[in-house]
Assembly symmetry: C2
């Protein structure tokens, strides 16, 4: 970033007047545009010098490709998009998204037995092994695991009822027994054991989804995630019984990440010095409960800890030698994951705990950071360079302090924790090179970039396995040459179905999928 005097003054001015979301947005947007222009130039010059195998038929690792079918499909593909794809040396072009036969590659990399490697994957040595960094270049087996946890977090969006015309708005659309089946995640070999609900006593804007209807399943609570556990087969493959908590976040950046509600608050009564502080809004969602509610007679914190303790006890009794607790979350979910990890590490000593967060904001102060390290929580913080949320709250303050050469190790500043894996949107040839504040925060963008990440200085992995079309599920970020509809993830007929009388009605939810407030543990 250029250090012009003019800009410095601008930052300070912005700080002096009340720092608004709008102002940040504008500042970021102009910075991004410049970067983008530089990057586009870089991209075009580098594309021509790419050293990718020039074969017209790319053989994807492990894929069964019938050449004649491939040729047929290629032939019938649009000439325009094909030639563009060839020009840019993209493995996928528009014709790959038309279902023409057997030429599509499987979307998952082959499973590998990682039972001896799981400590490294779980960050025991902070993702370094004998001074070798596992993140740069990214180890293929680590990548697969990270994508797995990311997809567990993505499930909290995909199954969430966002429809304000539904009386179940804010709940999960499926019961826990069929969640993974409905979302195609049974392949990972986990079972959901409990759903977690949250409420907030602090008025945090836009974190909760509510029904427009007067009658609704809950007036206070939202489905906030789920606990799952690896089954026998998967446990054998990954070397331990893995308990996973996936926290739901917020799809788009919301203004409250940077507003006054994020002021720091004490997290722990045991912390007698009162040094350890975290953002008030996050803590409220994690800890709020009320006897008057149906789903939060216990707080989210109590619900998840109760379940984790039960599972640990259960599998110890069953003779499990090793058990781990992995907490995944995107955005707000990543923030809750840290609070969850802090609590679990203090209340279940000896349990290996790891947080995999995607686009999470800062949560606490320096003392919080130090304490997490002390109690042995391992944190992998995956961020996209262009995403604003990981820079919040305290983005501007940190920048200023840095520029003024002030030591930022003071206790009143929000701080990031753990190891960072930085992804760059401009790395992917499938994404538009446009600044998009909402799009660049989307979890599917994170998963796409993670899947294509080889190393910091490398090009996008040409044989990336994850379905590129998923990017446009709830964004419009794919280049238009791929001809994938934007924001395509939606219910048929906006949720209306034809009943037996030929009338279009909002279906009642299957009784088994109606949320049920009491103990859900299996």
């Amino acid at each position: 970033m250029e250090k012009t005097g003019a800009r410095k003054t601008k930052w300070v001015l912005k700080l002096k007047s009340s720092v608004t979301w709008k102002a940040i947005r504008k500042a970021i947007s102009s910075t991004m545009k410049k970067k983008q222009q530089q990057q586009q130039h870089f991209h075009l010059t580098s594309a021509s010098s790419m050293k990718i195998k020039p074969s017209p038929i790319r053989v994807h690792e492990g894929a069964v490709i019938k050449p004649n079918l491939r040729t047929k499909a290629k032939k019938s593909a649009s000439h325009c998009t094909k030639s563009l794809a060839q020009l840019l040396r993209l493995p996928y072009s528009a014709s790959d998204f038309v279902d023409r036969g057997n030429h599509m590659t499987p979307t998952n990399s082959p499973k590998e037995n990682i039972s001896t490697k799981w400590h490294d994957i779980h960050g025991l040595c902070n993702w370094e092994k004998k001074k070798e960094n596992l993140l740069d270049p990214l180890q293929p087996w680590l990548r697969r695991e990270l994508v797995k946890y990311g997809e567990f977090a993505q499930a909290t969006y995909d199954a969430f009822d966002f429809n304000p015309l539904s009386e179940y708005c804010g709940s999960c659309r499926y019961n826990r027994h069929k969640l993974f089946e409905e979302l195609g995640l049974t392949k990972y070999g986990y079972e959901v054991t409990k759903y977690i609900y949250a409420m907030s006593h602090v008025d945090v804007p836009r974190w909760i989804e509510k029904s427009f209807l007067n009658e609704m399943w809950s007036k206070d609570s939202n489905w906030m995630g789920y606990v799952s556990v690896s089954n026998d087969e998967e446990s054998e493959r990954i070397g331990r019984r893995d308990i996973v908590m996936a926290w739901r976040g917020t799809v788009a950046p919301t203004e409250w990440f940077n507003d006054l509600k994020t002021k720091l608050e004490h997290i722990d009564d045991d912390d007698q010095k009162g040094n350890i502080k975290v953002a008030k809004g996050f803590l409220s969602i994690y800890r709020s409960k009320s006897k008057l509610t149906r789903y939060n007679k216990l707080s989210a914190s109590e619900q998840v800890m109760e379940e984790v303790k039960r599972l640990v006890r259960l599998y110890k009794e069953k003779g499990a030698q090793e058990i781990s607790f992995t907490i995944a979350g995107h955005s707000l979910g990543g923030a809750l994951a840290l609070l969850n990890a802090y609590e679990a590490a203090t209340s279940i000593p000896g349990l290996p705990i790891c947080v995999i967060s995607f686009g999470a904001p800062r949560v606490g102060n320096m003392a919080f950071e130090d304490k997490l390290g002390e109690i042995g929580v391992k944190i992998l913080r995956i961020v996209v360079k262009q995403d604003i949320v990981p820079k919040l709250p305290g983005f501007i303050i940190s920048k200023i302090l840095h520029k003024l050469h002030v030591d930022t190790r003071v206790n009143w500043v929000y701080r990031h924790v753990g190891t960072q894996l930085k992804l760059d949107m401009f790395m992917s040839p499938y994404l538009k090179h446009e600044s998009d504040l909402v799009g660049s925060h989307n979890l599917e963008i994170y998963l796409h970039l993670l899947d294509g990440f080889l190393c910091k200085q490398c090009k996008f992995r040409w044989n990336a396995r994850r379905d590129v079309a998923l990017v446009n599920k709830t964004t419009g970020m794919l280049i238009k040459e791929l001809r994938i509809p934007q924001f395509w993830y939606q219910l048929p007929h906006k949720g209306l179905v034809l009943n037996k009388y030929g009338r279009w009605v909002k279906p009642c939810r299957e009784p088994e999928d109606v949320p049920f407030p009491f103990c859900e543990a299996s």
Copy 2:
């Protein structure tokens, strides 16, 4: 309409400057707003004096209502919307669109044998019978038939591939054998015998839908409708073998209805005086053909006439005593229906021909009107008062001439033909009382109003049978209290499906549903 001097001047001024669509739109919009204010006042005052049976459980004609289920449903309905519905005495409230059991009424009125009445329905006496007007009050059996033909026309939209990312954009999504089954229209007892395609040599803006892709099923043609014929059972009920041509129109009013392309052109070489003239744009779509195309080696006109003649011959050979030809169409489709009727009446003498048009624009001049009457074509022109399209083209010119007391029976002015049935949007308690230029032209609005029409001075039929939710298929016109999503008619995941490898792809169309250019007759 008030005849103030000021307004008169305004019209004239508008005429002198080039009359643009925008100007018309503005003028209409302001007129509508005023009307709306008047109507809203009327509606509110009249609602309180409505004399509808005040029973909380309305028994719908022929419906099986289990009171306890009904009560249960009522109980669980939103209090707010219920009380509003009660206040307005609406038979349906939001809770009726939630599928809670058996309390929904069937959507279709019971079928009645109308074999002795079909000549009246078909307009032999211009919808009058022994000086009794069948349209005011609207005869129930006539209403059912009109809705039937309207739904045949609606099918041309519902089955149309509007997706510009599809290579089949502009075609029908299903083959003719399953069209009615896919759309729930088998209940009417007709069979589709041929699909009709059209092209245009004149550059008519926005009448044709085209794929964004380079490779597409046809570069020139669009699916423009279909020929169907009543089966044995239905023929017995309606007293004759009924051949139906349903023409596709344009969903929204388009500017070309009023632009220069609508200049009058000779329709008939036999018309030696050259008096009979129709709009050039319509005629081009009806008559264009080219040997270089796949689907229009024959014009739409030739395709439909060939099929009608074949069917007439076939059923005469089979000993059918009576055969009728009914032509239905909405918007542009209504205009094509008139051209089709003109041709059919001149080339198949003695065949009873009837046009049921919905929101159709004017098509030809006075000589065209006279000729249609002379050759015995019966035309029922259903219009919604608030819809601008039936006033086009020549709306402003006709108004001016009328205001200046000039005889409008001159040959250079576009004229309406046939008998008019006028519906009023403000009549329905389910529709927003807002001016909506696009919404008020929608065929589903027409069908909703037709279904609720009793007589000019009557309130909306409280036991109307047609599904009210259909209104919001491609509009946002339903009052928000009903909680029906707006524009809800859409494919799941915008047409993407999960293939066997777990990738989201655009499905290839079933081979049986791929359009096939050659003879389709059965």
